[in-house]
Amino acid sequence: MHEHDHATRRQFLGFASGVAMLGAVTLRPAEATPAMLATAIRNVVGGAVVRTGRVKLDVPPLVENGNTVPMTVSVASPMTADDHVKSIHVFNEKNPQPNIGNFYLGPRSGRAQISTRIRLADTQKIVAIAQLSDGSFWSAGVDVVVTLAACTEEVL
């Protein structure tokens, strides 16, 4: 009898935590999840291996205003016809969408470096992935602390 009660309570707790997790997911639709980030990256690289290195991602480690964050991505590459960067893709973990931007370069770029200003909705990780002309992918990741988030729920 005692055994039976215990099992029931365990089942109940399991069920309750399942419901709680479901609630957490459905209540926060405006946030990319690590799974969405992984999917977005897979859409770009396919099944290819992404190696760490060659890419340099410059973002301030501590950001006061998430509405406009300067970002520079550079890739170590000679940028010749035989060996150049074809594209640079930037992703984030916790904005409503996992994509930030895709930038397409070529041997005429001369230098594989781009800068822009981005929005960050939360303290999170940013990932830059570069595709080289030989088909290889290289990446760099940076953790950024945001004190004032870009407001997705802002009331006007």
Binding site: N99, I114, T152, V155
Partner: protein, 106 residues
């Protein structure tokens, strides 16, 4: 209404790597914000930017709502010949703007 700011060196040596800076004024409304009455403000962003050097595309970018308002983009190119650089921004709600700059290569 919309206006572009572009910075291209007027003169460059042949083969020199030059930096190009561009800024287009645009609200870049994300589509995730709401009004006081709770209605979603529809997305209105620039989705695509391209640069052509004497008609040949040398740079292109896909933009997402995570790009800050008044998109500022800088990139590099090799100064190959004198001529014209054309810039084009395309976005939601039929947004389409162009700008151009000329360069003399010695």
């Amino acid at each position: 209404m919309a206006s572009a700011l572009i910075n291209v060196p007027k003169r460059a040596k042949a083969g020199e790597i030059i930096e190009i800076k561009t800024l287009m004024s645009h609200i870049m409304e994300t589509g995730y914000r709401r009004t006081a009455t709770g209605e979603v403000i529809p997305r209105d962003i620039i989705t695509s930017f391209a640069c052509r050097y004497n008609g040949v595309e040398i740079f292109r970018a896909d933009l997402f709502p995570a790009i800050a308002a008044n998109p500022f983009i800088t990139f590099f190119t090799v100064a190959t010949e004198s001529g014209k650089l054309d810039f084009e921004w395309i976005g939601d709600e039929g947004f389409s703007e162009t700008a151009s700059a000329s360069i003399t290569v010695e």
